[in-house]
Amino acid sequence: MTPPRIPKGLVWAVADPAERRYLLSDLQEEYDALSATRGRAAAYRWYWSQAVRSIVPSLTRRLRRRPRVTGRAWRGGDIPGSVIQDARYALRGFRRTPGFTAVALVTLMLGIGASTAIFTVVNAVLLRPLPFNDPEQLVTVSERKLQGDTPAPHVSPPNFADWREQNEPFSHMSVVSPTSFVLTGGERVERVSGMSVSPEFFPLIGVQVAHGRPFRSEEGDSDEERVVILSHGFWLRWFGGDLSALERTIALDDHEHRVVGVLPPGFKFQDGADLWTPFVIPPENRRDAMRGARYLDVLARIKPGVTFERAQQQMDALARRLEDRPNNAGWGIALLPLHEEMVEEYRRALLLIFGAVGFVMLIVCANVANLVLARSTRRLKERALRAALGASVFRLFRQLLTENVLLAVVGGGLGMVVAHWTIAPLVRLAPAAIPRLDEVRLDGAVFGFAMVVSLLTGLLFSLVPTLLASRSEPGSFLRVAGASTGRRRQRLRAALIVSEVALSMILLIGAGLMTRSFVRLRAVDPGFAFESIMTASLALPSSRYESPERQSAFYARLLDDLGSLAGVESVGATTNLPMSGSRMTFGYRIDSRSGEAAEEQLFAEYHATSTAYFRTMGIGFLSGRTFNAVENAGRTKAVIINQTLAQRRFPGSDPIGERLTVVSQGGPTSRQIVGVIADVKHAGPRSTAREEVYVPLGDDPWRFTTVVMDVRDGESNLRDAIQARLSAIDPALPLSSAQPMARLIAGWMAPLRFQMLLVGLFAVVALALAGVGIYGVIAYIVGTRTNEIGVRMALGADGDRVFRLFLGQGMMLAGLGAMLGLVGAFALTRFVRSLLFDVAPYDPLTFGGITATVLLVASVASYLPARRATRVDAVSALKTE
């Protein structure tokens, strides 16, 4: 059994070099025994706790031991003796001031712990390279409108074919199309995730099949002989890891597919897939008429030695050469590094969170520097004595540095433990949609990060007091906290507090803005009623549902059957459910304007829906009506458009009765507009409406649809009922997913909720630290001015005045910090604009509310020591003089 690496390294580092081997061997022995009796997890926890609890005794022992006559470990002295001396001295000092040590350690532990936990997530999602060969050479390639916004970044089949033949910068290009198959032949019919890719895909990614062979290039030209490559997991599950699988076939969508290869274990692309088939572009899809049908996702590998910029330039040139083809005018080609594509959405959010971590670490540094300053003031006499006895400024600095680095490293070690226990809940809170979240774990890079942060922190808060001290002559130390040094120190501490308050203010305002956005976002009307909607997706196997007629008949019967279910008010179906991430974009043309501006290619999101879809979803009609039976049967061609299309293309006039020529799977068709519906938030609650066209599902049936049902009393047992009806029509057809619409919507809110929670958490920690800092400074000022208070009281000042004096000082610091914080927030919140929703970055409510909160916390933090000042007894205060 291998014990956990981090605690093992910890023990190795702290143990006496002469005893390391025995100590680790003992730990291993007990670890093995525990693993066998109480399980791996218990043994793992035990090892961690042993390691952590061994730190203090082992280090104390090593630093305290007297020079030994025997023993070989120290003879050469693996660390210079004077550093050990410094460290020993520091340990004694810490023991004499347990309050200081505890507060400093807790501050460091929280700060470093939180940062390390966050770093771990950022490391896995953003920094660790993809598990492919030279991932920086991989790009996604898509068509992009040169002017205006591109409806959807996809590629049409004829353009892909042209690019593949004519491009210069790429060594490989591949279509990547997630799909699913109905797998028969097992005990029951199963739906299996699949990926349809060009034969070049595996060489492109740089992955070799573990067994068998990759696709042959001719397998991408026609599907006469169907082949499939299995994921390692599927091979184990279905064939028990038997190599004879390579001569067998499996039935997918009722077609026999010959197994030709097995992928290596651990290979995962995007969401992962069990079965991989060659993507075939049939010749009829390569016609020029299909150039407007942009729906392919394309991945490419840039040739070695070609830069990203050069590749983009070469593809720009290619786009210009192809511009004279139909539907290509005004279109360019956009490259995007794959890595960026995978994490782009989260990059800004994660960087924001990283920024929050940085702020918290700065506050931690300021707080600990404050503590160190207070402590070093008390030790001025001692330092003066050492200086007078001949210690150089450098030597005194080194002493201080040793103390602080020791403090920071122990704090960092404790922080690692905090991080270790924080990561699991953090990952659980995170929306599952964040890519590569399952790769999050503590590792060497994280350990290194925590150590570097600790050391930097130690260095940073050592510099301040040293710079202060070294500016004065050694002689001045002997004047014992001379008035000028004292005042300068106080000014410095005040400055630290002011910046702490300012930093936490900025964080709080950020968190406040995000919370307000979240509340606004929840209140958004998506344009349809979702509370009572149940959804169920299904896909028809192409073999048995080849003809549109069969598909239409199936849908008609299914919708009819489901409508008769008890509790179901209304049933509809659509190809692209709102907020499900599914969408299609096709070109269209306004027939009456085919003469003028013919070059302008228009695009709309395309939906094929059943007649009752709009009623079921509660989508309102602004004018016109839904499809009738004749139109659903395709005998007259009809189309429904949304409000945005109507307003943009038919401003000030009634579009009903106008005709649009809409491209679809069957090529362009001229259709009459029969209705205009209200806009729907299709791509999530933050999306702005795009132009949309809806055609009857019976007229243009697709193999995949989502059925929506308006259900009276929730989802109880509905799934089984739906499955039963489905089986009655086609026993071999599995249901892929059935879930309430409300769950889909919650999924859209999850990332924002996660960001809000993290930033909010940091802001609260920051505010607490700033409060502790203010409390510490005011308490310290009260402490050093006990004499002065005594004199004032003796001269007749009453408690109230003394109280107001100190409360006022605390509030002045807080006020100054709050002002700076407001200025900083004004400057910085612009950068989070894209994360906000319907809230101005300068939202006065947030700014005002946060300012009030900060001042309130500051007043509580100053109140306590100020109260203490009023209780000073004048006589005893003066006696101490």
Partner: protein, 109 residues
């Protein structure tokens, strides 16, 4: 500098030495740690055991010998500890003092 505590043993030092006396030839890190943990019911870290043993070694109360790794894969290296004559003397002294001090003191049982 930690001040000399005379010939008295600190509490944890006493536990360790009692464990050594009880375990005899089989006293090494694992057995000592488990012995104290079992008898006192308190969690004991291996680091504390080694640190204390080293301190007792400095005082000349404890010696050790090491065993070569067993000739199997991952064979253990063990460090066996035992009391020196001085150590036995100190243990006797400490326990004697302790029992004398306890005589007549009202103890809850």
């Amino acid at each position: 500098m930690s001040m000399s505590k005379g010939k008295f043993l600190a509490e944890f030092e006493l536990y360790i030495m009692l464990a050594l006396a009880r375990l005899g030839d089989d006293a090494y890190g694992v057995s000592i740690r488990q012995e104290i943990e079992a008898k006192t019911g308190r969690p004991v870290s291996i680091g504390a055991v080694y640190a204390t043993l080293a301190r007792l070694g400095d005082k000349g109360l404890v010696e050790f010998h090491t065993s070569d790794p067993l000739p199997v894969q991952g064979g253990r290296s063990r460090k066996y500890f035992h009391l020196t004559p001085d150590g036995r003397g100190a243990l006797r002294h400490s326990t004697e003092m302790l029992s004398r001090m306890m005589e007549g003191a009202p103890m809850r049982s």
